[in-house]
Each structure stands twice: as C-alpha cells, then as structure tokens.
C-alpha cells in the first residue's frame, strides 16, 4: 500500500481511539512524522502498525500508556533510529518539485502585480537577471529554513505541556521575519546582471508553463499521489 493511502486510512482509523489514547497516539504520530529524512513509506507502515496494535489493545481494556510505556519520546527515538533514511533520489525530486512550484507561484504573482500596477502607474518592464535570480534563491532558502525550524519546534514541544502563548510568539515571529525578507530583499538588492525586458503577460505565461511542467513531473514521479 502506498504511503498516501496509509495516511488516509490512519486518519479514519484514529477515530476509533478513546480521547486519552488518541492524544497519546497523536503526539507520537506528529513526533515521528516531523523527522523529515526518514523514509515516508516505512514511517507510515510503522505508525499504522502502532495504531492497529493500540486499537486491539484498547478493545482488551488497555491504555496507550500500558502499551507504549511512560516515556514516549525515548520510545519513539528508539524506533526512529532504526528506520531507513529516505532515498537521496526521491528527496531530491521532492525538493526540486517544491522549488519549481515556488518558482511558478512567484512568476504568476509577479505577472498579476505587474499587470494590475500598469493600470495605475508607469511600470518599468526591464529586470536584471542576476539580482532577480539571487532574490529568488534567498526567498526560497528562507522559506525552507522557516519550514524546517517550525518542524523542529513542533517536534520539541511534543510530549510536554506546551505553552500556547510561547508557541504562538515563536511561530508568529518566524512568519513575520519570512514576510520581511520577501518584501525588503527585492528593494534592497542592488541590481546587477544582464537586463531583459519582461512584461506582466510574459510572467503569467512563464508561470503557467512552469506549473504545467511541475504537474507533469508530479504525475511521472507520483510525488503527491
């Protein structure tokens, strides 16, 4: 069975758990799933096994704590260290796919903004390739770093009484920082590199082409199926 099917089945089956067992299980689930570099397929097979076991044990009158012990973090770490790493190739395809998607949205958004702006003001249609490319690389890097940080943060806050206010402040600051980079990076970037003329419709066209290409890649490698 494919990882995506297992995830859907897991979502349905979790409803059979009592409230207390569900809380315990979901903490383990999130903790294990936020380890991004282990094989998704193996991860989903494992968490499904644990869920099936817990459901059977629950019918026999046992709690999640009886089954998995008092120290879920150590228990999960003990399993994670034996899980195989995600294959380099599928990780590379996935990251490539994300970058392509991001590039597509970037082009579509630039196109829309340029076209709307051109109704109200004179838009300079030329851009410098060097600085635009660098801006894009920085934006993509910041997005990946922010996502990675948020994952680590979520993982760290599992299994303990989490402080909602503190979590909110941290995740809010990260999002604000990311937005600030997005807004100020293109303004502060000195322009360099070969200049080309590119209008709003060119952006839209390029964005659409990239989205179509990423759809084809997705179908070929079954990234999100």
């Amino acid at each position: 069975m494919h990882a995506k099917q297992l995830i859907e089945e897991n979502n349905l089956k979790r409803n059979q758990l009592t409230e207390e067992n569900e809380k315990y299980y979901e903490d383990m689930l999130i903790y294990i799933r936020t380890h991004l570099f282990i094989s998704e397929q193996q991860t989903e097979e494992l968490v499904m096994e644990l869920l099936d076991h817990l459901i059977e044990a629950q019918e026999a009158g046992k709690s999640a704590q009886d089954v998995f012990g008092d120290d879920p973090k150590t228990y999960c770490d003990d399993m994670i260290k034996h899980l195989p790493k995600e294959k380099g190739k599928s990780a590379a395809v996935f990251i490539g796919y994300l970058i392509l998607q991001f590039l597509g949205f970037f082009a579509l958004a630039s196109g829309a903004v340029t076209i709307i702006a051109s109704f109200f003001t004179q838009v300079n249609p030329s851009i410098a390739i060097g600085s635009s490319l660098l801006t894009f690389i920085i934006d993509a890097g910041v997005i990946f770093a922010a996502i990675a940080f948020i994952f680590v943060w979520i993982r760290r806050s599992m299994f303990k009484r989490s402080n909602k206010i503190k979590d909110g402040i941290v995740i809010g600051s990260i999002s604000a920082f990311t937005m600030a980079i997005f807004i100020f990076c293109p303004r502060l970037m000195p322009s360099f590199g070969y200049r080309i003329e590119i209008g709003g419709y060119d952006y839209l066209l390029a964005g659409l082409a990239i989205m179509v290409i990423s759809k084809i890649i997705n179908r070929k490698f079954q990234i999100t199926q």
Partner: protein, 111 residues
C-alpha cells in the same frame, strides 16, 4: 530491579525470543505480543517489540509483508529470512553456553 538494568538485560534476550516465534510461524505485531505474554513474559511492555522488529528488519533477519488477517483488516506479517535463521541458531548456541553457568553463579552467590 530498576528499569535501565532490566531493559539492558531483556533487549538481547527478547530479540532471540521474537526471532524464534517469527521463525515458528508468521505473525503480526499484536499477535506477537500476545504470544510472548502467553509464554509468561508478562512484564514486557507490549510496545517494546516494535523497536526490536525494526532492528531485526534493518539487519535483514526478518521481512514484513502486508496481507489480510483472519479477522479481515490488513496487517504486516513477519517471517524470518535465511540470514535470520542463521542468527537464531547462533543465538541458541550462545544462550545454551551461558544459561547454566549464569544460573549456577547467581545461586552460588546468594547462598
């Protein structure tokens, strides 16, 4: 006995026991934990089989296969590999060579 000492002592032995049960017949996780308890290992927490199952898979001593269980839903059934059988035989020899001396030493020390 404290937890840490217990788990150290149990880990290796439990691995041999699990390998042995899986070799006798192909089982899935919950069944395996029930079998261990039926043999009298009541104090082993059920969940502790999963880290061991993962390690045995990593060593290629066992393999998992999804198939329908007698009650209907699909379960991951484990079976031993050629390499697993060799490991089981080695474990048996190791165990036979230490079991008697350990028993004797402990009884002697406490007398």
């Amino acid at each position: 006995m404290n937890m840490a000492m217990r788990s150290q002592l149990l880990k290796g032995i439990l691995e041999g026991c699990i390998l042995s049960i899986i070799h006798k017949e192909s089982v899935y996780g919950y069944e395996l934990s029930q079998k261990l308890q039926a043999f009298g290992l009541n104090d082993v927490s059920e969940g502790s089989i999963y880290p061991i199952l993962l390690r045995l898979q990593k060593e290629q001593f066992i393999e998992g296969e999804m198939r329908p269980s007698p009650t209907g839903p699909k379960r991951k059934y484990y079976k031993t590999t050629e390499k697993g059988l060799e490991a089981l035989i080695a474990f048996q020899q190791e165990w036979n060579s230490i079991q008697k001396p350990v028993e004797t030493i402990i009884n002697w020390g406490l007398n």
